[in-house]
């Protein structure tokens, strides 16, 4: 018997997070790829923090930040009449930070590989900056976008510690697959744990296989200087 509710919730969280990170991560990656500012290493270090911090550390800070007693948490309650803690939307915000490096780093590498040369050409052909981004940089970095999106999605699916601390275990709201598996193991329901775990292993393999295949199949990068 497959439990669909945690699976659906997990993929919804990963999907929303990926879309949000495409909007948030792209400008950050673009700035990192093209900036010569002294602040660049600082921003690079900050965006890489989630790679090395234990999820409990991030979960702990999010819990404090999202608490209705804090400025942000209280402000959110005032506006929406809901809390950020133990809610789906709170998980989305936490996941955006948690998965940030998985979006920013492949994109930054892709933008650096595209380089300035094609953008300079586009400028001399009368293309404005946004035009240049969407018609030249983005298509040339398409492999980076695919890789970054797949890694972000997969990494969010694999989230556990942050969800546990910020979201708890509310069915249909914050009870994602990793939490459901944890609960099944705790209650010695190994059959259910097996089913969900096997599904995640299969999913993770398919995503990674796709990432590596995409990286091989879009060859035009090799010819860019």
């Amino acid at each position: 018997m497959i439990e669909f509710e945690p699976l659906w919730l997990t993929f919804k969280l990963a999907g929303v997070t990926t879309l949000a990170l495409l909007c948030v991560g792209t400008p950050i990656a673009w700035w990192l790829a093209h900036s010569h500012s002294r602040a660049k290493p600082i921003i690079e270090a900050i965006t890489a923090l989630p790679l090395v911090l234990p999820p409990t550390v991030m979960g702990f800070y999010f819990l404090i930040l999202f608490s209705p007693n804090s400025t942000i948490g209280g402000w959110w309650v005032e506006i929406t009449d809901t809390t950020l803690t133990f809610s789906f939307i709170g998980l989305v915000f936490a996941s955006i930070v948690y998965s940030l490096p998985f979006m920013v780093q492949p994109l930054q590498a892709a933008f650096e590989l595209v380089g300035r040369a094609p953008l300079e050409v586009a400028a001399t052909l009368r293309a404005r900056p946004l035009d240049r981004f969407f018609t030249v940089a983005a298509p040339l970095a398409s492999r980076g976008f695919v890789t970054a999106s797949m890694l972000t999605f997969a990494h969010t699916v694999g989230e556990f510690g942050v969800v546990l601390m910020v979201g708890g275990n509310l069915p249909g709201e914050t009870r994602v697959v990793s939490i459901a598996i944890y609960e099944h193991v705790e209650t010695l329901n190994y059959t259910a744990a097996h089913t969900l775990s096997a599904i995640l292993v299969g999913f993770a393999f398919v995503v990674l296989f796709a990432v590596y295949s995409v990286n091989r199949r879009l060859p035009f990068f090799a010819q860019l200087k």
Partner: protein, 376 residues
């Protein structure tokens, strides 16, 4: 005394005027010049002379320049008012050395990229005309990765033209090509100014290429302009010898086609009313062509010799004699009517013949290169 440096700027207020200073570490580029508002201006200099930097500043791709750039009535760069028009608003087409075609688009896609963004500007330039001028029709559906180096440059030139530029810049467009590809592209390059009437600046460090395409010449050395003027007068300046490249030193001059000798495949042309015979080419009698004669292909004689295989002998007068103390050679400038030839002879020969300025002399021309129909 060198020939006076003739500036082409005074009557050209409509063109491009720059007064710039760019500092990169220990390198300083300081240039004040008004470029000709028509034809091709060659920007010549050795590597590191600053010519590519100057081109990029004019295109708006470098933000490091002090000074100002004026194009017609528009100010593109003005340090005083902190105005700096971005590249996409300048209407400058730039053909890069490495073509830089968009890899994610086909040949047609690359051309349309420029065409779509400039169509609304109107003007007389038509898509079909550009495709035709550069013979791009057979290439349109190809992927850019499957083009040869020469084809790639042709597409890049077509793309730049289709952006309907008001000023066209070439940054060593032939440097990455071998001899065969170069001669494949040159005819297209030469045809551009007459066909599209866009003022053009052409950067190169190859003088033979420059002599073939340029009408005006600006010589850049260590960040400074050391000479400028019509290509025919700059090339005969002997003080520029080391800068222009020793073995390619020579002159470019205009000649009139007089007769064709079909059995021998020869064509007779006249330089200042004196006839010389060159390998045959097709051009109507009476048309003006441009010849290039290298200094090392000109020998000197005190009187007309007999029994020589060299048929081309021109009567002239030595106007300048410049021995090079550090080499075996002397450069000699010979006036033939209104035209000039440069000869490179040994200092020993110059002394033993007693060459001096003002002396009548016979110039023996071993070889002549035909560059193109001269601009009218």
């Amino acid at each position: 005394m060198p020939t006076p440096n003739t500036e082409v700027c005074s009557a050209e207020a409509a063109g491009l005027a720059v007064n710039l200073r760019v500092v990169y570490g220990s390198f300083e580029l300081a240039v004040e010049h008004t470029f000709a508002s028509q034809g091709i201006t060659g920007l010549f200099g050795q590597s590191g002379s600053g010519k590519t930097t100057l081109l990029r500043v004019i295109a708006g791709l470098e933000n490091v320049a002090e000074g100002h750039i004026q194009f017609g009535a528009e100010r593109w760069l003005d340090q005083a008012t902190a105005c700096n028009v971005p590249a996409h608003a300048r209407g400058v087409g730039l053909v890069f050395q490495d073509a830089r075609l968009f890899q994610h688009l086909s040949v047609r896609g690359n051309l349309r990229y420029a065409h779509r963004r400039s169509r609304h500007l109107g003007g007389t330039l038509q898509w079909d005309e550009v495709i035709d001028a550069l013979d791009l029709a057979p290439l349109l559906e190809r992927a850019v990765t499957l083009l040869s180096g020469g084809e790639r440059q042709r597409v890049a030139i077509g793309r730049a033209l289709l952006s309907r530029p008001r000023l066209l810049l070439f940054d060593e467009p032939l440097a990455a090509l071998d001899m065969r590809r170069k001669s494949e592209i040159l005819p297209y390059l030469r045809a551009i100014p007459a066909r599209f009437t866009i003022p053009t600046i052409y950067v190169s460090h190859a003088m033979d290429e420059m002599a073939q395409v340029a009408d005006h010449l600006v010589v850049l050395s260590a960040g400074k302009i050391v000479a400028s003027g019509p290509v025919t007068s700059v090339l005969q300046r002997m003080d520029l010898g080391p800068l222009l490249g020793r073995f390619e030193a020579g002159v470019v001059l205009n000649a009139t086609v007089q007769a064709h000798d079909e059995p021998y495949a020869l064509t007779t042309v006249a330089i200042a009313n004196q006839a010389i015979v060159v390998p045959g080419f097709s051009a109507a009698i009476g048309t003006t062509v441009r010849l290039r004669i290298r200094a090392r292909d000109v020998a000197l004689a005190l009187e007309r010799p007999h029994g020589l295989s060299i048929r081309n002998m021109l009567d002239g007068v030595i106007t300048e004699l410049a021995p090079e103390p550090t080499t075996a050679y002397a450069e000699v400038l010979v006036a033939v009517g209104h035209a000039h030839l440069r000869a490179r002879v040994t200092r020993q020969a110059a002394d033993q013949l007693g060459l001096c300025e003002g002396m009548p002399i016979v110039a023996l021309v071993k070889s002549v290169a035909l560059d193109r129909p001269a601009a009218t």
